[in-house]
């Protein structure tokens, strides 16, 4: 190993050269020699320091793109939640290189990532106060995004935020839920207004208000933006602060197991993760990354990561028999063109029938879709779009609400996965009792993007401070899955 070091440094080879020449320019050659010697010695000193134990250098030829051999926090999943956690971890750590964070993402093209396939909406019209607080914080984050995420010498971040607000429509039987939600939202600080059907008709003359008993319009901090810009801004800032990015797939964990006895006398296998196995793309080569903390922010694939640790694979009655209830659910988004459609005042409209619609650009294009029934969930093995779904389920409901949409043309469509929490459709944040160093930040069921800056801060506070400081998300803790205590949100899309 040392021989390689010596031969790689040019100074030791070049020593022979000046002695060979007997010409009158030997004085000039000596001058060059001393000038270069300084740089060569410096290079040698750096190499020697790198060769010492404790640094990342190794004489063996390494595959490019391998993650470092050890990291403090490994974040599985490079979507907006993963990068938000990485950013906040570094922000809270304050010291450069004080905390080594690694973000592992299996798809460098982000072709199936939920983040970039999202419609990009943000709203505070929820019924749970935690959800409202999360998206209020995220809206404030985005308001001052360049204070948070600007990197020197780079362009300022532009999210292309459209402040059109969300408009929820309620029928007779759900109007009371909407009123109650309105009170909660106002109490927590969201700016929402309730509209009667006549006010709705006066405000949005292009809408058919038949069947609508009450409507709720977001006045501020609501609208939609470009998710790719947010993801890239978070990633760029995190990388500038020293977060390592690795494109590879997590294929397994190496844990140290201990036995623990519960109060009922049941003996449980508690696993502490020691190494994360990261496999390189299109290869069998993997790198075991030694780590202290792992964060599961893998979105739709979080269930798969959890099952690698045996969560859900134990006997049915025990704690280890309860799987992580996060599954991928495919949702379709259709881009339609309607030249006579509603104009600049189109909010992100969500009808009580489940159909949603928002404006895209100024050219008469709209984005629309609908959540399918529980029993008719589409196949999740691929991201193919079912156009029949639009023809049969979405179009007539859309045209009923906005009559101009009876004449429209579907320009394109795509599909993406929700990281759907089958238990209660709200985020799962916290530790699992059987894996004391894996933090979960998943299961947001379609709201991950809009809650990501706040969730990132919450998880960073959990990891570094041991508890929530800004927003108290104890209601979203993982233990509610084990205790079978769901917290439900009314009206989700």
């Amino acid at each position: 190993m040392w021989r390689k070091l010596f031969t790689s440094v040019p100074a030791f080879r070049a020593l022979k050269a000046p002695c060979r020449s007997f010409s009158s320019s030997s004085r000039g050659a000596e001058k060059d020699f001393f000038k270069d010697l300084d740089t060569h010695l410096r290079a040698f000193r750096d190499k020697a320091a790198a060769a010492m134990p404790g640094s990342d250098w190794s004489p063996i030829e390494l595959t490019p793109g391998l993650p470092p051999e050890r990291a403090d926090v490994v974040i599985v999943g490079g979507g907006v939640v993963g990068w938000s956690i990485a950013y906040w971890l570094k922000m809270k750590a304050r010291v450069r290189d004080g905390l080594r964070v690694l973000v592992v993402e299996k798809d460098p093209t982000y072709s199936q990532a939920s983040t970039v396939l999202s419609c990009g909406g943000i709203r505070q019209q929820f019924s749970l106060k935690e959800n409202i607080l999360l998206s209020l914080f995220s809206a404030h984050f985005m308001k001052n995004i360049n204070n948070h995420l600007w990197v020197v010498n780079e362009d300022p971040v532009d999210l292309q935020f459209n402040h059109s607000g969300y408009l929820f429509l309620a029928s007779e039987k759900s109007a009371h839920i909407m009123e109650e939600n309105y009170r909660t939202q106002r109490y927590v600080g969201a700016k929402v207004a309730l509209l009667s059907p006549s006010q709705l008709k006066e405000r949005f003359p292009w809408m058919n208000t038949e069947g609508v008993a009450l409507a709720s319009l977001g006045l501020e901090n609501e609208g939609w933006f470009d998710p790719w810009s947010l993801l890239n801004a978070l990633r760029r800032k995190a990388v500038s602060m020293g977060v390592y990015q690795c494109f590879g797939e997590v294929t397994g964990f190496k844990c140290a197991a201990n036995l623990a006895e519960t109060t009922d006398g049941e003996v449980l296998n508690v696993q502490r993760i020691k190494y994360v196995h990261v496999r390189m793309p299109n290869s069998l080569e993997y790198q075991p990354v030694e780590c202290a903390v792992v964060v599961n922010a893998a979105g739709a694939n979080s269930g798969k990561i959890a099952s690698m640790l045996g969560i859900g694979l134990g006997p049915k009655e025990s704690v280890s028999g309860v799987p992580l209830p996060v599954e991928p659910r495919k949702r379709f988004v259709y881009v339609v063109h309607c030249p006579d459609g509603p104009g600049l005042d189109t909010p992100f409209l969500i009808d009580y029938s489940g159909v949603y619609c928002r404006r895209e650009g100024l050219g008469g294009n709209y984005i629309t879709g609908m959540s399918p029934e529980e029993t008719e969930e589409p196949d999740i093995s691929n991201l193919d779009v079912d156009h029949e779904f639009f023809q049969e389920k979405v179009w007539h409901r859309l045209a009923h609400r906005i009559p101009a949409f009876e004449q429209l043309k579907v320009s394109s469509a795509w599909a993406g996965f929700y990281d759907y929490n089958t238990f209660d459709q709200n985020g799962i944040i916290g530790l699992h009792p059987l894996v004391p160093n894996m933090y979960f930040a998943t299961g947001f069921s379609g709201h991950g993007l809009q809650q990501s800056p706040a969730v990132g801060l919450a998880v960073a506070e959990l990891i570094l401070d041991g508890g929530y400081k800004t927003i108290d998300l104890s209601a979203f803790d993982l233990k509610r899955i084990l205790l079978q205590e769901p917290i439900q949100e009314s009206n989700i899309v």
Binding site: N162, E220, L344
Partner: protein, 185 residues
């Protein structure tokens, strides 16, 4: 919340000018930046018009004005920190604001102008000189559509349209403008 509170917090020592209801003259600081505090003797008057042209007011600064529910005119020409989030906060004046001047506020984009739909009583809106609008003519038409009583000035129909006499450059410009148009709209 009015008057000196506003002056101190926004830090504008030489600009803010406020006329009150029933009082037709403007209150403005003198040449040394001192503000006369005569209006302190009439604490219940509501501010009707605020002129903040050229100041550094931003969405946080609006905190001082949100209680003025009789505000009728807001002039913000040439304010570099007025952005889309500022416009989104203007919904509090939805029942009273009649005139809004946003000319030459370089940070405003279409995404912020959509928030003006909450100002139902708006009669005059000035959107001249907004560099981030790719198609000012189209935005003018769309804004007049959504604000029923409002007359929008500052954008002409021809702005943003490709001119017919520069045919050679139209191909490249068309490509560039459609790409940027799709990006920024």
């Amino acid at each position: 919340v009015w008057g000196p509170h506003v002056v101190r917090l926004i830090g504008l020592r030489s600009r803010p000018i406020f006329p009150f209801a029933g009082q037709s003259e403007w209150l403005r600081p003198d040449s040394r930046g001192r503000f006369s505090y005569d209006f302190m003797s009439t604490p219940d008057t509501q501010i009707e018009e605020v002129d903040l042209s050229g100041t550094l007011i931003n969405h946080n600064g609006l905190e001082n004005l949100v209680n003025q529910n009789k505000l009728q005119t807001l002039s913000l020409p040439g304010c570099p920190e007025v952005d889309d989030w500022f416009l989104a906060r203007l919904h509090v004046f939805g029942e009273s604001l009649l005139e809004l001047d946003l000319s030459h506020c370089s940070r405003i984009t279409v995404g912020g102008l959509t928030a003006l739909q909450n100002l139902r009583k708006l009669k005059r809106l000035d959107i001249s000189g907004l560099p981030q609008l790719q198609n000012p003519g189209l935005v003018w038409i769309l804004l007049e559509e959504i604000l029923p009583h409002c007359r929008v000035t500052g954008a002409e129909y021809e702005q943003g349209l490709i001119q017919p006499d520069s045919q050679e450059q139209t191909e490249d410009h068309h490509e560039a403008s459609t790409h940027t148009g799709l990006r920024h709209l």
